[in-house]
């Protein structure tokens, strides 16, 4: 892309910089001119499905800006009468069979279709046909699919296939009967869907959304016989700010802790504590595999979408997955099976809530083996960052005006290494810090491992632990993971440890995060995590004193018998998924 030719065109009567290869949409946006889109996805080839992005090109008339390459000499009007009228008509046609019961819709107030109807002044139902009345698919533990609300923009289909490498859903049938659905028009629960929620993040309407656990949580909070405890994932405190109009990436942990107490949670714990615990186990597991005790390269196992992906597409590589549960589930097990007893509480009367940037965590919480011998679940409900924001608003709390609070001990203590789990590369960095200590008995000289930081989808590095040199890779977005797995299957053997996070950017870009954020916001969240790592003294998971205390008093050794019982799990192939 070097020496790209640049030139100027005219947008709305003013000069605008253009580069050959850009689309008119790119040029308009760079020039600060807003052109609406519905089917456009940055970084993917344009599909031209919705036409809402039409602009008026002098001498040519209306063209869809998202797929029209810019050419020298062009003069573009984005808001000519004919362009705005065309957009309004498109919205009216989309609304013709759309059940526009906005007041009862999850996306009310956050819906791109609703915004466009407002922006273009749709005030009457101009085209009247039968409203869509497809079945709502509630079969998935993580998401709800309401095809009646679907405007067939196709973004979910493309993200699922091209970014996530899953292709669980596609267009079926044609004409007015077209639908986006899993194979055989069956429920998502029997499909290959890995519950990542990236389709939810791109859906402009209420056709895809998370399965809410708010009701269960509110019921528990209202029940005086139940002790409700909450954990919040590393990425949440650097993402919640956006829901309340604060700076993207700002760390609002202290405000959030107080808000959670005001909502009625009896204890506020930190999933990053369990991330430190995960690192103790996972770094020990890595060292043990390096000494000949198991398959290499070892894969991280904290991202439940990725785990299901391996189980259904690469069952032959399941032995490469670390047996460690995710931090959410480690925390769940410790809360119900250790902490509750010490507090003199009956685990059945403890309701354990996890706030996650993720909707696959809802699926993970109900996996077999994620409870005690009597199947009391370790985690009872999972709320996304978005659902937490909804709960806070429901209670009329103003996040910005909370008095800062501190988490509860012992399970609210964390190192910054645990906090780094919230972004791509974070598990790797935290694990290498502790593996170095386990192997050499010394701390790493440079704790920051720049090569695994940042939003790039694939990062590789060679890291020395004394005389052992490790090959490590960090991948986010499962489409890219697929390519790396193919290399491993084909015999690539220079890698020892691979971190995979399901969502692009890791949890900061998770499917439960604030909607309509751009890459800039996701990057700010990631930088928020780095800022925390820079500014606090305890940067190593093995220096979390409450984690060490847990080993001294309960667990014994990492990978010991008690650890295995509480903190590790196993996997099973899923050949039935369609």
């Amino acid at each position: 892309m070097s020496a790209t030719e640049t030139f100027r065109i005219e947008v709305n009567g003013r000069p605008a910089e253009a580069r050959r290869g850009e689309t008119l949409l790119d040029v308009c946006r760079h020039a600060g001119v807003d052109v609406p889109t519905l089917c456009h996805l940055p970084d993917l080839a344009p599909s031209g499905a919705c036409r809402i992005c039409v602009v008026d090109v002098r001498g040519r008339g209306l063209v869809p800006s998202c797929s029209c390459p810019v050419e020298p000499g062009m003069s573009v009007e984005t808001n000519s009468q004919s362009a705005t009228r065309a957009r309004k008509t498109i919205v009216e046609l989309l609304l013709a069979n759309h059940p526009d019961d906005c007041l009862y819709c999850v996306r009310h107030g956050e819906c791109e279709l609703q915004d466009l109807a407002q922006r273009y002044g749709v005030r009457e139902r101009r085209y009247v046909t039968a409203k869509n009345d497809h079945h709502v698919d509630i079969s998935s533990p993580s998401l709800v699919r309401d095809p009646a609300k679907c405007i067939l923009c196709g973004k979910c289909v493309r993200v699922c296939e091209e970014v996530m490498g899953v292709a669980a859903i596609d267009f079926i049938r044609r004409g007015s009967r077209t639908l986006v659905a899993p194979a055989f028009n069956r429920g998502l629960n029997v499909s290959t869907c890995i519950n990542c929620g990236q389709c939810v993040m791109v859906c402009p309407t209420g056709a895809l959304h998370e399965k809410s656990h708010l009701k269960e949580v509110q019921d528990a909070l209202d029940d005086p016989a139940v002790t409700v405890v909450v954990q919040h994932a590393p990425a949440v405190s650097v993402s919640l700010a956006e829901e309340f109009g604060l700076e993207p990436g700002a760390d609002v942990e202290a405000l959030m802790v107080t808000a959670l107490r005001r909502l009625g949670f009896a204890r506020v714990f930190d999933t990053s504590f369990a991330a430190d615990l995960t690192i103790m186990e996972e770094a020990s597991e890595l060292v043990s595999r390096l000494k000949g005790g198991g398959r290499l390269p070892m894969f991280t196992s904290c991202s439940p979408g990725w785990v299901k992906f391996v189980e259904q597409f690469y069952p032959d590589l399941m032995p490469n997955l670390s047996t460690c549960k995710s931090p959410q589930q480690m925390m769940g097990a410790v809360v119900k099976r250790v902490w509750a007893g010490r507090e003199g509480l009956d685990p059945r009367r403890v309701f354990s809530v996890a706030i996650m940037p993720c909707i696959a965590k809802k699926f993970e919480a109900q996996r077999p083996g994620m409870g005690d011998a009597e199947d009391v679940p370790d985690v009872d409900a999972v709320l996304t960052t978005r659902e937490l924001a909804r709960l806070i608003r429901l209670h009329g709390l103003d996040l910005a005006r909370m008095t800062p609070g501190a988490p509860d001990l012992p399970l609210g203590e964390r190192s910054t290494a645990g906090k780094l789990f919230g972004g791509t590369g974070g598990v790797m960095e935290a694990a290498l810090r502790t593996a170095h200590w386990l192997v050499t008995g010394r701390e790493m000289y440079h704790l920051t491992i720049g090569a695994v930081r940042g939003l790039e989808g694939v990062k590789e590095a060679r890291v020395k632990l004394d005389d052992v040199e490790l090959g490590v890779a960090v991948v986010s977005g499962l489409g890219r993971a697929r390519r790396l797995l193919e290399e491993v299957r084909a015999g690539r053997d220079d890698l020892h440890f691979i971190e995979v996070m399901t969502c692009p950017g890791g949890c900061v870009g998770g499917g439960g995060q604030p909607l309509r954020a751009d890459t800039g916001a996701v990057l700010s969240r990631l930088e928020g995590l780095y800022r925390i790592d820079r500014s606090e003294p305890v940067r190593l998971s093995h220096r979390n004193r409450h984690v060490q205390e847990l080993y001294d008093e309960v667990l014994g050794e990492p990978l010991g018998a008690r650890s295995h019982e509480l903190l590790h799990t196993h996997y099973h192939a899923r050949d039935g998924a369609v």
């Binding site: 292709a167 669980a168 859903i169 079926i172 049938r173 899993p182 194979a183 055989f184 028009n185 290959t192």
Partner: protein
């Protein structure tokens, strides 16, 4: 997996996605319909997700996903039949059988298909049941027509076309 489908797939070694339609046609010709197992097997053979195979197959009217019933019902929706009210006839049949076009009744007796033009425009609106033509069908005739076939099936006749 039906060994016949395996045979068909073996006739397309190392095939790519451009062979999808010919394979779908060959399987349907052999089996009479595309079962879930067939769709999954075709997907594995072509290294295509099942959602894609199913999506492509449902795009075309020629493919069906349930086995053909003992009496295959074809409802003509050609222009002449349309003008004479075949939409209402189709409606009535769908209600009578409790299946939509493309479906097969639970008892396996009737499968319903909409066809573009049977080529009997003089008889519009026309339907064919198990190969018999019924001309000038009105919605109110529908229950009687199907009752007769149910009767025939009960008598244990093996006379279905």
């Amino acid at each position: 997996m039906s060994p016949r489908v395996v045979d068909i797939l073996e006739r397309f070694p190392g095939a790519h996605r451009d062979s999808l339609i010919p394979i779908l046609q060959a399987v349907q010709e052999q089996e009479g319909f595309l079962s879930q197992d067939s769709v999954l097997a075709i997907g594995r053979h072509l290294d295509l997700p099942a959602s894609k195979v199913y999506g492509v197959a449902t795009f075309y009217n020629q493919f069906r996903f349930t086995p053909v019933g003992r009496f295959h019902v074809q409802v003509c929706r050609g222009t002449a039949c349309h003008v004479k009210g075949s939409a209402n006839v189709l409606d009535a049949i769908e209600r009578e059988l409790g299946v939509k076009a493309g479906g097969t009744t639970r008892d396996g007796l009737f499968s319903l298909e909409v066809v573009a033009c049977i080529g009997a425009c003089g008889l519009a609106p026309v339907i064919a049941v198990g190969g018999d033509f019924h001309a000038g069908v009105a919605p109110r005739d529908v229950p009687g027509i199907f009752a007769a076939y149910r009767e025939r099936a009960k008598e244990g006749g093996s006379d279905a076309a």
